[in-house]
């Protein structure tokens, strides 16, 4: 999916994309949670959604901003969200999700929802934001059942972690807040799974936060707007991709255990590619959301002054139809 959508952006068919290359083992954390656990992501956690049953179609619809996008086409691609899957909608600003996750966890605790926690993903770069300090400190002092999960992938766009912090990564900071912390090999799917499972157990039984720092490497560019060859050595990336590839590691393990073989690998790849391409083709053809979605949901109801603006646009569209082609949209009605 990453490959096809990245290419699609290059071809001008979607406007933007972010890949997960190098960080695939993070799916271990998804497997360790329960479905009712609330997820706050940053933007590189589609694995969590896919694990929970968000389909490739759902991803495609969002990336193509079509009428089936739960977000109604308002945000850039990869800004997924799904109430059904307990995955809070992604926003671009970094770190803002951290105190939100603490608050959501606190609410779950008050609910007597003893069996649900929140998990909050962020990168080592976002951990430099003030919201990180606020979120962790509040989670600790207010005893919130939240798992803070840092994907330390070595880069914040062009900024290497050596310029992001001078301490020993993000994990030591947890200690400073009085938070139980573990640092794991982020490219080992089982390690990630085990750490998350243990963290969840602590969060749920003791109603307190846990910090996991998962060490990994961002093999891909930051996004389709980035060319990482401008600031790092191609050879370094190739070596990391070859010698510490999370997918390869898991596959080799499964092969050794006799759970997997090359034939299954080939079949899965073929099937997946077919699924993704089919989904891609379908999503591209679907209409965009109806134009009324421009004005809806700013508030729970459209306030009078905004309704006036909506009417103004409606008048303009009637007056200058050649300037307002609406064929792409599910409906040209604004109401």
């Amino acid at each position: 999916m990453d490959e096809i959508l990245y290419e699609a952006q290059r071809q001008g068919r979607i406007s933007f994309y972010m890949t997960h290359y190098g960080e695939e083992a993070m799916i271990g954390s998804a497997a360790a949670l329960e479905f009712q656990d609330v997820v706050y992501g940053q933007y590189r956690e589609a694995f969590m959604l896919l694990y929970r049953g968000f389909t490739v179609d759902d991803c495609m619809n969002q990336c193509f901003s079509n009428a089936l996008d739960g977000g109604k086409g308002r945000q850039m691609p990869v800004h997924y969200g799904s109430k059904q899957h307990n995955f809070q909608t992604i926003s671009s600003p970094l770190g803002t999700q951290i105190p939100q996750a603490a608050g959501a966890a606190y609410a779950l605790k008050l609910n007597g929802d003893k069996q649900a926690v929140t998990i909050c993903y962020f990168g080592e770069g976002a951990a430099s934001e003030g919201d990180f300090h606020a979120g962790l400190n509040m989670a600790a002092t207010l005893k919130c059942p939240v798992i803070f999960f840092c994907r330390n992938n070595g880069f914040a766009i062009s900024t290497p972690s050596s310029e992001q912090y001078k301490g020993d990564g993000i994990a030591p900071r947890g200690i400073g807040y009085g938070i139980d912390t573990v640092c794991v090999d982020g490219n080992d799917a089982f390690a990630v799974y085990n750490a998350t499972k243990a963290a969840r157990a602590i969060a749920v039984s003791e109603n307190k936060p846990v910090l996991i720092e998962a060490m990994t490497y961002r093999v891909g560019h930051h996004s389709t707007s980035d060319d990482s060859t401008k600031y790092r050595d191609r050879k370094e990336v190739e070596e990391r991709a070859k010698f510490d590839n999370p997918i390869t590691r898991l596959r080799r393990h499964m092969e050794l255990k006799g759970w997997w073989d090359q034939q299954q690998e080939d079949e899965l790849r073929k099937e997946t590619r077919k699924t993704v391409l089919k989904s891609f083709g379908a999503a591209e053809k679907k209409p965009k959301p109806g134009l009324q979605e421009l004005f809806n949901d700013v508030y729970d109801e459209v306030p009078p002054a905004l309704a006036v603006q909506r009417d103004e646009l409606e008048q303009l569209m009637k007056k200058y139809p050649e300037y307002y082609t609406t064929d792409e949209y599910a409906s040209s009605s604004l109401k």
């Binding site: 850039m76 934001e129 062009s158 190739e238 134009l291 421009l294 700013v298």
Partner: protein
């Protein structure tokens, strides 16, 4: 073969269907005979003689008339280079500036001036702003970059509560005149909520800050140098859509353009049209359309350039001549800069006004990705406002 090159080279054998929507840049078809967009704009000075004919640049053409072709990010880069070269206490910092920045505005500066003076910071806008204030407070020149104007809000407290009040609260014992904050702003076609905002109005409401926004490379270089050297904290909003699209022959000399002074781009007698930043090109096209559809109509176009403090006298003088005013900006209509300009002009020109002041702005919604074309104060909306004003 690396994963990256593998991805780049393997072409997906998807049947390339009739593409109704493409995000790759393409030439737009003329509508109503108007070729829209920056590439066709007459506002840009594409020849050296054009550039130097500007009365504001008269002083440099005598000394050094050399110009070179630059786009907006190159002009910004040039301004910072000159600032760093002429002021030993000047530094440039922000996220990712070292390798050149996500918009290439800081390309080559670290190599030229050293890692002590051009450097990456950790990912923290509140930190960047506070740090910049501290440097300026002890007399240095801090040129800070916020990666996108949409991310300036963590810095709001530092800028509004600290930078803006630094001189006043200290009885003029201290000031942060050396502070300049640069940020790419405004729509880019696919930026959605968080890569398209124009947040000038939030800061315009705060006494103590200056806000500047250039429409072109020549303007960007001169205004940025003026902003850096101005003895007040300045927020410099660079319309990101213009970084590559706007290209001019820019004087290579060290020059400044005046802050607080609007520029009349086109003289006219029937209606005054005011904007800033990327909106100037939309307004240019709207005027072309209006003067075509209403022969004999003569529109006056004004670029504020400095949003705070804006050049009230120039706009008043113009409206006293024309009796009509249209203001346009991408930022949402309610409580935007248009509201402030409209109120002031209403006060100053009440009896002269022949029509209600028109504001063409973004709607009062977050900036919507797929509906961007319906959200923006487009050429046709601006044309419609001109028509309404003139026919009132």
């Amino acid at each position: 073969m690396s994963i990256i090159s593998k991805v780049a080279r393997r072409s997906i054998s998807i049947r390339v269907s009739q593409q109704k929507r493409g995000y790759a840049a393409g030439t737009a078809q003329p509508q109503d005979g108007i070729q829209q967009g920056v590439a066709y704009s007459h506002l840009l000075k594409r020849g050296p003689e054009d550039a130097l004919r500007n009365p504001e640049l008269a002083h440099i053409s005598a000394v050094n008339g050399e110009t070179t072709k630059m786009n907006l990010f190159q002009a910004v880069n040039d301004a910072m280079s000159i600032a760093l070269a002429t002021d030993d206490n000047a530094v440039v910092f922000g996220e990712d500036v070292s390798f050149g920045g996500v918009f290439r505005a800081t390309t080559g500066l670290a190599e030229k001036f050293g890692k002590d003076r051009v450097f990456n910071t950790p990912l923290t806008e509140q930190g960047i702003a506070g740090f910049a204030i501290g440097m300026a407070a002890v007399g240095h020149t801090a040129i800070a970059e916020i990666q996108f104007a949409d991310y300036i809000f963590p810095a709001f407290d530092q800028l509004v509560n600290e930078a803006a009040k630094y001189r006043y609260r200290s009885g003029n014992q201290f000031n942060v005149g050396g502070l300049t904050v640069r940020a790419p702003c405004s729509a880019v076609g696919h930026g959605g909520h968080y890569h398209s905002q124009s947040p000038e109005a939030f800061f315009a409401h705060c006494p103590g800050l200056k806000i500047v926004s250039p429409r072109s490379p020549i303007q960007a270089k001169g205004l940025l140098l003026a902003s850096i050297r101005d003895r007040n904290p300045v927020i410099f909003f660079e319309p990101k859509n213009l970084y590559r699209a706007a290209v001019e022959e820019v004087p290579v000399a060290d020059y400044e353009l005046p802050l607080g002074k609007a520029e009349v781009l086109k003289k006219g007698s029937d209606v005054t049209i005011v904007g800033y930043g990327a909106q100037m090109y939309t307004l240019e096209n709207a005027i072309q359309l209006a003067e075509k559809k209403m022969p004999g109509l003569s529109c006056e176009l004004i670029d504020l350039r400095t949003i705070v403090p804006w050049d009230v006298d120039t706009v008043v003088e113009s409206v006293n001549k024309t009796g009509r005013l249209v203001i346009a900006h991408e930022a949402p209509k309610s409580s935007g800069m248009g509201a402030e300009i409209a109120s002031t002009i209403m006060e100053r020109c009440f009896l002269r006004l022949e029509a209600p002041i028109q504001r063409v702005c973004g709607w009062d919604t977050p900036f919507p990705l797929i509906f961007e074309k319906f959200y923006m104060p487009s050429m046709i909306r601006c044309f419609d406002a001109i028509k309404t004003s003139v026919n009132y």
